[in-house]
């Protein structure tokens, strides 16, 4: 009997000893959309290089990403390392869920801030700590029909707001049918309206980002400038008429469209072969002579959860993903634009005529206000009131006043917290 007991105890000791001795560290990585789908190819390379680390990738569709991350935080199941749209960083900062990366960056041989686009890097900086490393970048530039522009008598894309307005008028004059415009400004998107505002140095929010500042002269000017296109029917008001932007672009329904890098691929795929050479990209026009004008600093970063117990391995993974050779690989796989400027020197990127506008534009980008409420302000409120204003039923001044009121309501809590913090 004693023998059985002893061997049983021994068995337990041996088996528990086994489970304690890990052969490798497992890190959990969450990424979204097509990038998340394709990141596994890079993760396998990473594992080959670091046999002691295993990466578990969880791919989340964009539509559910925000909810999923928030719920993960609430249930304390955040992954070790994850992708975060750079406008979401402030929210996770407010939750105090992100590890500050400054210490890691200082010791890193791979990641050097000077190699990154300044405006993009800045979106990861909050209250003097760096919370994320840019993974891929995104901004908006002008897509235009070069053939229509030539037909209207112009050799180059617009460099100033006045150019844009003047060229739009001339292109409209080429129209033969009634249902034809020159500049497509989608009213179900907040981006164009914010974009022209920041070009004109509008602050968007004031007093430590605790009140709306949309009634400011700068924002009103930019907003009125855009509204002129709707009033003079240079831009379509009815979104229903542009169900398929590729078809509409090809048929000359409009000649200017401000959009992002994903549309380079889409335009090449979806436009008919006859359209080849009839469209181009250009940096955005500017309200003054300082061409190009600013655009929005978009994209996604890689961050480490503050609650992770495997931060060293997670950082190793981020470094691997940030290495120029891997960024180039990633561009080849999913055409995600690299945040590291040195990668852009490679022929694959440098020789793509549509990309040079993006490179120029990325050197002139500004972040949107870095507060957790921004997503809600932009996608719920700015969009709602831009749509209202575009109908021309309510004056710009009243619309912006209403927008400010709503934004002030959303920011009420933020004001209270700022006050609370001061008192402490």
């Amino acid at each position: 009997m004693m023998r059985y007991i002893v061997s049983f105890v021994l068995l337990i000791i041996i088996s528990s000893g086994c489970s304690e001795k890990h052969h490798y560290t497992e890190i959990e990585f969450w990424a979204m959309g097509i990038e998340g789908e394709k990141a596994s190819e890079l993760a396998r390379l990473f594992e080959a290089e670091n046999p002691d680390i295993k990466v578990n990738i969880n791919q989340i569709p964009w539509t559910a990403a925000h909810e999923k991350l928030m719920t993960a935080f609430a249930s304390e199941t955040l992954p070790d390392v994850f992708q975060l749209g750079n406008t979401w960083i402030p929210e996770f900062r407010a939750l105090d869920a992100l590890e500050s990366l400054d210490g890691y960056i200082a010791d890193s041989r791979v990641i050097k801030r000077s190699e990154y686009f300044e405006g993009i890097w800045e979106t990861n900086l909050l209250e003097n700590s760096t919370l994320g490393i840019p993974w891929y970048v995104d901004t908006r530039v002008l897509f235009y029909r070069s053939d229509l522009l030539k037909k209207a008598g112009f050799n180059s894309s617009p460099r100033t707001w006045n150019d844009l307005y003047f060229q739009s008028q001339k292109i409209k004059q080429l129209c033969t049918s009634e249902n034809c415009y020159s500049f497509f400004v989608p009213v179900n998107e907040w981006v164009p309206f914010i974009l022209f505002g920041i070009q004109n140095n509008a602050r968007l929010l004031r007093e430590n980002d605790s009140y709306g500042d949309f009634s400011s002269v700068e924002f009103r000017e930019s907003f009125e400038f855009l509204m002129k296109f709707f009033e003079e029917e240079l831009a379509p008001k009815d979104m229903q008429s542009v169900l398929n932007i590729y078809q509409a672009f090809e048929s000359g329904y409009f000649a200017f469209y401000i959009t992002g890098p994903w549309n380079i691929g889409e335009f090449q795929r979806r436009l008919s072969p006859a359209m080849k050479g009839k469209w181009m990209t250009a940096p955005l026009p500017s309200p003054d002579e300082n061409y190009p004008g600013y655009s929005i600093a978009g994209g996604a970063s890689l961050v480490i959860s503050r609650f992770s117990e495997k931060k060293t391995a997670a950082w190793k993974f981020i470094e691997f993903m940030s290495r120029p050779d891997n960024q180039l690989r990633f561009y080849k796989i999913v055409a995600a634009l690299p945040p590291n400027k040195t990668v852009w020197e490679n022929k694959i990127l440098a020789d793509n005529p549509y990309l040079s506008a993006f490179f120029k534009q990325l050197e002139k980008v500004k972040p949107t206000p870095k507060i957790p409420e921004w997503e809600q302000i932009a996608s719920a409120k700015v969009q709602q009131y831009a749509e209202l204003a575009s109908t021309g039923k309510v004056s710009v001044e009243i619309v912006l006043k209403m927008l400010d009121d709503d934004v002030d309501n959303i920011l009420e809590k933020r004001r209270w917290i700022l006050k609370h913090r001061q008192a402490e």
Binding site: M70, L95, A97, Q240
Partner: protein, 294 residues
């Protein structure tokens, strides 16, 4: 002595389920009721010191929010158009399947019941294909009778009817089964007697079938109303509340406020507002039932 035993027996039998329902139902409901008087949001999630009791502010905010009113309008549209339609279709199908002329009854019953047990998400995705403006089956068939393509889910005028159509198709099987059970309980003699007295098909339906089915109808309409007021998955998967918020339902609005913007205090207040609405609706239906002494 006997009394004590019965308490213990009661505890043994009811205890586990009472415990489960308390932990997973009553406590969360109570907690969310308390939440609805706070401004619990993303800041509070990070730090509980940033939680304030704000009384009924959430509720008054709801009443001043245009988005809530359009969500309410859309939900009522769905309930008032979809609810009766769903009941009528179920009744029609039940009467057809109960007819003596029909063969393969069990087969048809199963076929009509299939959508009920199919996962809603899968169904919604298939219906999105059906509604596709260019390649969808529905527009293809409409083309035969000369109707030009409709952008079912992209046009604010058609988006809600499209969702109602799908929901009715998905749900009518369940009510149909209840109606069939009700129909089979009607004594055959009543019809025979009426026929002898010279009653036609319509007056037999009007004066025998309908009154005899009244209890089933009340039950079905209350259940359908409660279910339809909680419209969520269909617009969540098919339209995300768009276009132009034309399919934003109250529950979807609550979900967006709660899990997209993380305004949990506000969104629980929406939940209790919806509870009051449904409760009132059910009360009205029971009143009607009493009034007509069904």
């Amino acid at each position: 002595m006997r009394k004590k035993t019965s308490t213990i027996v009661l505890l043994i039998f009811f205890g586990p389920s009472l415990l489960v329902i308390t932990v997973f139902f009553f406590i969360p409901v109570l907690a969310s009721f308390i939440f609805s008087f706070t401004d619990f949001n993303i800041y509070s999630l990070g730090n509980l010191n940033y939680l304030r009791f704000i009384g009924i502010d959430n509720y008054s905010k709801i009443l001043h929010e245009p988005l809530f009113w359009s969500a309410l309008k859309n939900t009522f549209y769905f309930v008032l158009a979809g609810g009766p339609l769903s009941v009528a279709v179920s009744l029609g199908a039940a009467i057809l399947l109960n007819s003596k002329l029909i063969r393969f009854k069990a087969f048809f019953r199963t076929i009509y019941f299939l959508p009920v047990v199919t996962t809603l998400v899968a169904v919604a995705i298939v219906w999105r294909f059906i509604y596709h403006p260019r390649f969808g089956m529905l527009n293809y068939f409409l083309g035969f009778i000369g109707i030009s393509p409709v952008d079912w889910l992209g046009d604010p005028t058609f988006s809600m009817p499209a969702i109602i159509l799908m929901a009715v198709w998905k749900n009518f099987g369940y009510n149909m089964i209840i109606f069939i059970a009700g129909l089979q309980n009607i004594p055959e003699e009543l019809y025979e007697a009426a026929s002898i007295e010279g009653a036609g098909a319509w007056s037999r339906f009007r004066h025998i079938t309908l009154p005899m089915l009244a209890p089933a109808t009340v039950f079905i309409s209350v259940i359908t109303m409660i279910g339809y007021f909680q419209l969520f998955s269909e617009p969540y998967i098919m339209t995300q509340g768009g276009p132009l918020n034309s399919t934003l339902s109250i529950v979807l609005y609550m979900y967006q406020e709660g899990f997209r913007w993380w305004n949990l205090g506000y969104s629980t207040a929406i939940a209790f507002t919806l509870f009051v609405i449904i409760f009132t609706g059910a009360l009205i239906q029971f009143r009607i039932q009493k009034r007509y002494d069904i």
